[in-house]
Symmetry: C2
Subunit: 154 residues, 2 copies
DNA sequence: CGCTTGCTTGGAGCGCACTCCAAGGTCATA
DNA sequence: TATGACCTTGGAGTGCGCTCCAAGCAAGCG
């Protein structure tokens, strides 16, 4: 078997990074990174192609060797992805990082905007949760009483 | 102009349904529903085609006339959409509703599963928020000090 | 009557985020 | 040294959720 699709380990894993090797020996193959992140090798290569990752270091024969730093970046990308941030925006952020220190302000603003988006999203979800709870208790205790959908949803 | 793309009003609108007409006179054209929901007419027709909406009532000339009930259903669909629930699952739920009372159990379970998903999603987002906050304060008070990305992200 | 606006349909097209393929080179173990 | 797992590339394909198109019908208006 090759190119495993998603060896995503249980998400209730340990907090830090149990698998990482110390600085200096931090050189991971793409399949190791697949195992750590749950991303596919395809996706990792694609991230690099579109500029969402820096160019990854290579072995003497041209194979990718990821560093701890690369893994940290992937962690951040993973988090940002969870917020629903478009890949294009993350690429933009990556570009700002590559461009150097004079982009600090812009990066800061991008993060702040994202933060506000996340807060708004959480609020939306909590709103939805309320609707869901109402509907669930409706089903739970109205048992099977004439209860068609759309009835006092809100 | 026709087929406006997104006349989404500010989301801090009034809680109930300021625009609705009383039962008996609740007959809205597709463009009215577009204005209410922020969906496009295309999307509304598509929802109907794929079975996410029941077949909508028609005028004597075959034009769609939405009822308050239809609007309620669209509200629910909008909420479920916010949770990230796939359209296919919402269609499944719609089917269960059409199939009648004997699907109560299954509907209940679907809602409960969704509820758990939403809770998990909120937790994820809060986790992300913490990362974001850390990074933001890093940018804020480290000012412009050597601060490359991936540095102690977590 | 012609013009505009708004609605109808089936089917094609689009943007995003992957996802996979084909052809070939590399590495570790027996 | 040979087998098989793993890696490389550019480019094509997929699935989702819309999004749009073309052709045509119906109503209102000057």
């Amino acid at each position: 078997m090759m190119e495993t699709t998603s060896t995503r380990t249980d998400s209730c894993a340990a907090p830090p990074h149990p698998h990482r090797r110390p600085e200096g020996q931090d050189s991971y193959t793409i399949s190791e990174v697949v195992a750590f992140t749950g991303l596919t090798a395809h996706t990792l290569r694609w991230y690099e192609r579109i500029g969402l990752m820096p160019h990854i270091g290579r072995s003497h024969t041209g194979q990718r060797r990821y560093s701890n730093r690369d893994l940290d970046w992937l962690d951040l990308v993973g988090k940002l992805r969870l917020t629903g941030m478009p890949v294009a925006d993350m690429v933009r952020y990556a570009e700002l990082v590559r461009e150097g220190d004079h982009t600090f302000g812009e990066r800061f603003e991008l993060l702040e905007t994202t933060r506000r988006d996340v807060l708004a999203r959480i609020a939306e979800l909590q709103d939805t949760l309320a609707v869901l709870d109402r509907k669930i208790s409706f089903y739970a205790d109205a048992g099977r009483v004439a209860a068609y959908e759309g009835e006092k949803v809100r």
